[in-house]
């Protein structure tokens, strides 16, 4: 049986290649049909903010890639509720159907994956 891998994405979307390169690990894992989970944490939750306009910065739209995740078989999507609330996004509709996790749920999530990469 394949080992499960949790990717924790902590980078804001337009601060450099970090968020995209983290997402590329997730998509590559999906292409190999591996059990991958993706957790948005800290500034990573800004990736889920709806209707961003990266064209203003001449950047490719990361949100389009995020929305492709289910097509790659990545359906285990999570978001830290505390990180959202802290950033004023607690009541905002998200660009992805990510499950909101409180502290104890975050601990349980980390505990159940075989390996983890935090970027």
């Amino acid at each position: 049986m394949s080992k499960s891998l949790l990717i924790i994405s902590r980078q804001a979307p337009w601060s450099g290649p970090g968020a995209r390169e983290t997402l590329d690990i997730v998509l590559a894992g999906g292409a190999y049909d591996l059990p991958i989970g993706l957790l948005f944490l800290d500034d990573g939750v800004f990736q889920l903010f709806a209707e961003q306009a990266p064209k203003a910065l001449q950047q490719k739209d990361l949100t389009a890639n995020l929305q492709a995740l289910p097509l790659f078989g990545i359906e285990a999507l999570y978001c830290c509720a505390h990180s959202l609330g802290e950033r004023g996004l607690g009541q905002t509709p998200l660009a992805l159907p990510a499950e909101l996790l409180d502290t104890s749920a975050l601990q349980a999530l980390l505990a159940r994956y075989d390996q983890v990469i935090t970027l």
Partner: protein
């Protein structure tokens, strides 16, 4: 499953330590390296934050980083060399590096 968390950023000016403590499981371990060992300066705000680690948590620091920075860690901290670092990664089920 247990996790050994690795921190190498300074505890000040970023979210890593706070978020690490939020995800930290009851039997997890924390290994500080690089500027993260500044968290072990006695009486510092970061050392006080580390006091909230669960009682079952292991607290480790890379010896060379303590030595280089002249940090005198208290008795709750185990200083490790690279060989012990390798062994620690096997004592826990996985390793979470806060890059």
């Amino acid at each position: 499953m247990t996790t050994l968390h690795l921190l190498s950023h300074s505890p000040y000016g970023n979210d890593r330590l706070t978020s690490c403590l939020r995800l930290f499981g009851a039997e997890d371990g924390l290994l500080l390296s690089g500027d993260a060992v500044y968290a072990l300066q006695p009486a510092s705000a970061a050392r006080k934050a580390l006091a909230s680690l669960p009682s079952g948590a292991g607290l480790y620091a890379l010896a060379e980083d303590l030595q280089a920075r002249n940090i005198q860690a208290d008795d709750a901290v185990t200083a490790v060399d690279y060989s012990t670092f390798v062994a620690l990664t096997l004592r826990y089920d996985k390793v979470n590096s806060w890059l």
